[in-house]
């Protein structure tokens, strides 16, 4: 499998992760940014068949390189996603480091850096970006996820002034932290308290649009038709087609798998789906909006696993509320919803958070991806579809 990568660079073999890392080391300019952005896609061929640890290493190594080549706006969301929901020290460190590639201070990233601070403070590790496959003890620079977050806050200076209370709290528990973290903490505390008078007018205008998981209604499916022929099995083992599950009423559809180990992703997604059921009921709309979770891992997530996973997270099952696994190929569903998921040798190696609102015709209405979605906002997006006239779906049921 060969890819050209940057236009000016020779092709590389994507099965060779060392070659990919070597390319990451050498990229620069807009071509380099484009190559790194390609590597942010969970479906990139470099990740195919790899385990999660290797996927993290490649993705993180590329993400950190944005600090060197510059971070364009279209790459920002990948880093923000990691700061908000990531629990792996290497990836969180990479995201925080990559943010230093922004061409000016942006205060809108500060809440995500603070969120990452909370996510990672009990899971931190010493790590390095000096080389792709380090041998320990490492010769060269070592760092930590906290140190990378703090250095980025320090770079933001007074733009991150409202982070000060959390930094002071972190300082109180900093005894025992590696020297690299403690030094970065002191520098961050000093910098965020710097005299805001030094800000230029241009700096003040770089607040940017707030980063929120607004519904994306413009997103077009990778394949035009909904996967009407796809068959599923629900948590009770009952067969159901796509049409039976999703035509006739608007549905909120989320994706997950039971072997996901990030508590901020699948486990939280299904917990929120259960809260959404309650919110639908509280709005007096039970039976008028359906909810469904579809597993990325249908070969392993057999009905008993789906049932216990949903029950343990508060789901109530019924004809309008199900967890599903495909019994035909997952591909058509993956293509239609344009899922951000990569697969290793036995299971998922990486996925984004994704929730969709599907219209009563079974077609995609809105999508919420990468950032944490809000239960009320998703419910309201589904309510809007109830009120829309019911178009003919034009596909087999």
């Amino acid at each position: 499998m060969i890819v050209a990568g940057a236009r000016s660079a020779p092709p590389i073999d994507l099965r060779d992760d060392d070659a990919v890392a070597h390319r990451v080391d050498s990229v620069e300019g807009p071509d380099g940014q484009a190559f790194l952005i390609e590597l942010m896609d969970e479906r990139h061929p470099v990740y195919r068949g790899r385990g999660t640890t290797r996927t993290i290493q490649i993705r993180g190594y590329a993400m950190a390189a944005f600090a060197r080549v510059g971070l364009p706006d279209r790459a920002l969301m990948f880093l923000i996603e990691e700061l908000e929901s990531g629990v792996d020290a290497f990836l969180v460190a990479a995201a925080a480091r990559g943010l230093r590639g922004l061409d000016g201070p942006e205060r809108r990233v500060v809440p995500f850096l603070l969120r990452a601070l909370c996510n990672i403070r009990d899971r931190d590790e010493l790590l390095t970006f000096a080389t792709y496959k380090p041998t320990w003890p490492v010769v060269g620079e070592t760092t930590t996820a906290l140190a990378e977050i703090l250095r980025t806050l320090a770079l933001l200076g007074p733009h991150a002034a409202f982070a000060l209370p959390q930094l002071v709290e972190l300082e109180a528990g900093s005894v025992g932290m590696p020297a690299v973290t403690r030094d970065a903490l002191q520098e961050a505390i000093r910098s965020v308290q710097a005299d805001p008078g030094v800000l230029t007018e241009a700096d003040c205008c770089r607040g940017g649009e707030p980063i929120t998981p607004r519904p994306d209604t413009r997103r077009t499916p990778r394949t035009g038709q909904p996967p009407f022929r796809t068959r599923f099995e629900d948590q009770a083992g009952a067969p159901v087609t796509y049409g039976e599950a999703f035509i006739g009423a608007p549905s909120v559809v989320v994706f997950f798998y039971t072997r996901c180990t990030n508590p901020n992703k699948c486990s939280l997604t299904i917990t929120k789906l259960a809260r959404l059921q309650q919110a639908i009921g509280a709005a007096g709309l039970a039976g008028r909006i359906r909810t469904a979770g579809i597993t990325y891992d249908p070969a392993f997530d057999l009905p008993p696993r789906l049932r216990s996973y949903g029950e343990n997270r508060g789901m109530r099952f019924g004809p309008d509320d199900r967890l599903l696994r495909t019994t035909t190929a997952l591909g058509p569903v993956e293509g239609y919803f344009d899922l951000g998921v990569g697969f290793g040798a036995a299971t998922v190696n990486r996925h984004r958070i994704e929730a969709f609102v599907v219209g009563p015709d079974g077609r995609l209405g809105a999508s919420f991806s990468r950032l944490q979605w809000d239960v009320t906002e998703v419910r309201d997006a589904a309510i809007r579809l109830i009120r829309q006239p019911h178009p003919s779906h034009g596909g087999p049921t």
Partner: protein, 302 residues
């Protein structure tokens, strides 16, 4: 006095001295204990006792965790002391919030220990890091399985440690190990982990049905297949359970699994299969098989 008597007396005297020293250390304050722990001239028994006191003091004064990590990192320190330090540190790791600031350096020291000449320390370091899905530990364990001259541990142990991460990319390697195992234990461990790999259904089924395979390997295959493909397992298990030429331990395993997880039978079939399982209670010579049969009948009739 004969040699045996002399040895007995000497050992008793040494033990009494050890207890006395330990009692003396037990009365020490954490600061005194820390002093003794770090003093190379103090007898090893006293230093080991001091290690425990220092460990107990960590909840009140977490800074001692750094001193314990220092002991672990000191390759010139006595092996018993470093082994003791890693045990105490592992206990302290349960104090998640207290331990968190010290964890990065602790793990850094453990990573350096994967090449330690002391096999106990090497194994302990790899076991701990593997539980945290540490990239370096996984890389070195996999390397050892692919190139046995680079192995840090016996193959079965390396597979067991890699198995802490079901998202790792070792499944193709495990399938190769099952086909060409370095040891029976390694094969068994590989099969245990393949229970998480849906593409290994056929392989597991083949091992389960292969009478030339060792019984404990087939037992592990049965358990893996039951988790991965309950329908395929049940089909094979029914045949094995009723086959008098099969290994008794394997039959006991399949009957036990059918009792717990098998699909309830239609009444028409229950009479045949259940009757034959019931007969095993009286006809089998193996007590294990008789017990499994009784358990099946009790569960199915209850």
């Amino acid at each position: 006095m004969d040699v045996a008597e002399y040895r007995k007396r000497t050992e008793a005297a040494l033990e009494a001295a050890r207890v006395e020293r330990a009692e003396r250390v037990d009365e020490a304050t954490p600061a005194e204990a820390l002093g003794r722990l770090l003093d190379g001239a103090t007898p090893v028994g006293e230093r080991l006792a001091a290690l425990q006191i220092v460990g107990r003091a960590a909840a009140e004064d977490p800074t001692v965790i750094d001193r314990l990590v220092d002991v672990l990192a000191d390759t010139a320190a006595l092996p018993e002391l470093r082994e003791g330090a890693v045990e105490v540190l592992q206990g302290l790791a349960f104090l998640v919030t207290v331990f968190a600031p010290y964890r990065p350096r602790y793990h850094e020291v453990l990573r350096a220990m994967v090449d330690d000449p002391n096999p106990i320390l090497r194994r302990r370091a790899l076991a701990i890091l593997a539980r945290y899905k540490d990239e370096y530990a996984q890389r070195r364990l996999t390397e050892g399985l692919e190139h046995p001259t680079k192995a840090l541990l016996p193959a079965a142990k390396a597979i067991q440690y890699l198995g802490y991460d079901i998202h790792a990319e070792y499944f193709p390697l495990l399938r190769r190990i099952v086909e060409k195992p370095p040891t029976v234990s390694a094969k068994r461990e590989a099969i245990r982990l393949l229970a998480a790999d849906p593409s290994s259904k056929t392989l597991l089924s083949r091992v389960l049905n292969d009478k030339s395979e060792p019984s404990r390997v087939r037992q592990m295959s049965a358990l893996a297949l039951q988790s991965l493909a309950p329908t395929s397992f049940e089909r094979a298990a029914r045949q094995i359970s009723l086959d008098d030429t099969e290994d008794d331990r394997l039959r006991a395993t399949t009957i036990g699994a059918l009792a717990r997880y098998g699909t309830p039978e239609p009444v028409s079939r229950r009479s045949t299969f259940s009757r034959r399982i019931s007969e095993i209670q009286t006809t089998a010579s193996s007590p294990q098989l008789r017990r499994a049969s009784k358990s099946y009948v009790d569960r199915r009739s209850g």
